[in-house]
Amino acid sequence: MATVATTAAQQRAIDANVLLRKQRSLWGDALYRLFRNKAAMVGIAIIILAGILAIFAPLIAPYDPTLQNTKLNNMDPVFAGTPYTNPHYFLGSDELGRDILSRLIWSARVSMVVGFVPTALIFVIGASLGMLAGFYGGWVDNLLMRFTDIVYAFPDLLFLIIIMAALRNTGIGEVLGGLLLIFVALAVISWVGLARLIRGQVLSLKEKEFVEAARAIGVPTRRIMFRHLFPNALAPVIVTLAFAVPGAMLAEATLSFLGIGIKPPTPTWGVMINEGFTVFSQSPWPVMLPAACISVVMLAFTFLGDGLRDALDPRMKI
């Protein structure tokens, strides 16, 4: 056997072959597609950055976000080019003389928590009830569908506004500056959509041959649900959850902007916009900066959600 020097082209072919031969699961494939999606990667980068800001807010923020310095209020950012700037306040200060940069950083913390905690609740409630309804049918299913009818007739924001307005000044409304109430309110209205989605998936999956096969060889029901049905129903669920996170953030921002969300002085982007709006015609910065933060984070999550959808289900294209 003569050793033949491989040309560059041949070497590339071999490499490609090795790549092809490497086994990849469906999930690995999806991940590969996701990582090749530039917009989704930008989204993930921004989300990670926001996450770091959220976790290390006390270390990163230069000042206490609620510390007032009324002598130096309404400062413009140092780059604004107006005489009303102060080197201590890089992004300026608000009407009460609080450092806007610090408030923006601390707001990231509230936003991330508001985004992820209700989404986790939605997943737990929606997935379990959706599986039960789809798998067993019967009264669970009936109850779920009727409840869905009611929730669908209730516009989300309408219901959120009523809940927040009614319970904001009660015991539960005071916990964590109103955060707990927002979690519960968001979970109550949003789990239904996910439950319906999973129900539909399970309904069609349970008729498939692989479930029949599993049943035929005596796999216990619970194992069928968790090992066979659930993983196969998961792809659209992940996409839905990826969009639930920014949805929850938007809801909090909107409620806080309307003045019935998180209670001041806890800084959130919505609260900052609400407070800054009173001096908007004199100085746009206290409104524009948090507005920019919300927009960037919302875009990041949308990019990620779109990327996940394209990666997990290439046929689904909206």
Binding site: F154, P155, L157, A253, A291, L299, K317
Partner: protein
């Protein structure tokens, strides 16, 4: 079809009942009476008691709810606790404003999104396509109040072209209509584009081309005719989006419609107004959803509505 329609229409009744029950329960769970709002000049307890008695707020909650239901069936929602006027009167005044704003926004959003979606699908991966995708993503993602703020800053504060708040002549309507239309427009653009792309790849389109039809005919009567079916169903969710959008937009621009009335009445614990507006919204959304489903069934005979 008829059976389906009747069933759906009948389902409105229990749903409305539960919406009423939930709203009633939640508003009554709120602490404080609607008459102790002014903290600096509190009313004497005797006056509050008398007012509570006058409006029946001192009765047991179940009795109040039964009374409310009975009156609501006769379209009598009582009088506002804040303004001394009939609730139906107040809503009757705000409704035309909100309806006008909503219809304008819907028309504007369709006028933007349908051509944009169709063109970007026909010229897939062109600059026009990327531009409209960008518009669709941004318009759908950025919160409406943020867009409103930016537009207010540009057109009202910086350029001083348009008034910030109020309602009356055309100048007042431009900003609220545009902001309200943007979200649905972005959403419908996405759906139209996706639906067009799906239809273009169908076999019947290839057949139409191969039998030598002009491209225009293929696009208009083969592709678009089918692609518009899913788009028609979007009007339902879009209407719901316009309603929730109107809370924010009307509050922000001080438009005297029922969206602002709703937010105001929540802040003032004006129970009768809250109840009536909530029921009105819920009814409207249900009717919109039902009509969309029925229209869908008529447009697309492949869909079975029996369920």
């Amino acid at each position: 079809m008829l059976q389906y329609t009747i069933r759906r229409l009948l389902l409105i009744i229990p749903t409305m009942f539960f919406v009423a029950l939930i709203t009633f329960g939640l508003t009554r769970a709120a602490p404080g009476s609607p008459f102790d709002r002014n903290e600096n000049r509190p009313l004497p307890q005797a006056t509050i008691d008398r007012l509570n008695r006058l409006y029946g707020i001192d009765r047991p909650v179940t009795e109040q709810f039964a009374l409310f239901l009975g009156n609501a069936l006769r379209f009598d929602f009582g009088s506002s606790l804040v303004k001394d006027r009939q609730v139906t009167d107040i809503i009757g005044q705000g409704l035309p404003v909100t309806a006008q704003l909503g219809v304008q926004a819907l028309i504007l959003s369709l006028a933007i999104s349908l051509p944009l979606g169709v063109i970007s699908a026909l010229k897939q991966n062109s600059m026009v396509d990327y531009g409209s995708l960008f518009f669709a993503t941004v318009g759908y993602t950025i919160p409406p109040f943020v867009i409103a703020i930016v537009l207010i800053f540009i057109f009202a504060v910086d350029l001083r072209l348009l008034p910030i708040v109020g309602w009356g002549d055309i100048k007042h309507m431009i900003l609220p209509t545009v902001v309200l239309a943007l979200g649905p427009a972005a959403f419908i653009t996405r759906i139209t584009r996706a639906s067009m792309l799906e239809a273009i790849r169908q076999d019947y389109v290839r057949t139409a081309r191969s039998k030598g039809l002009r491209e225009q005919v293929v696009i208009v009567s083969h592709v678009m005719k089918n692609a518009m079916i899913p788009v028609a169903t979007i009007i339902g969710p879009a209407t719901a989006g316009l309603i929730t959008g109107s809370f924010i937009i009307e509050t922000l621009f001080s438009v005297p419609g029922i969206g602002r009335l709703y937010v105001l009445s929540i802040n003032q614990s004006d129970y009768p107004v809250i109840m009536a507006t909530t029921l009105l919204y819920a009814f409207f959304i249900m009717v919109a959803n039902i009509s969309v489903d029925i229209v869908y069934g008529i447009l697309d005979p492949r869909i079975k509505l029996a369920h």
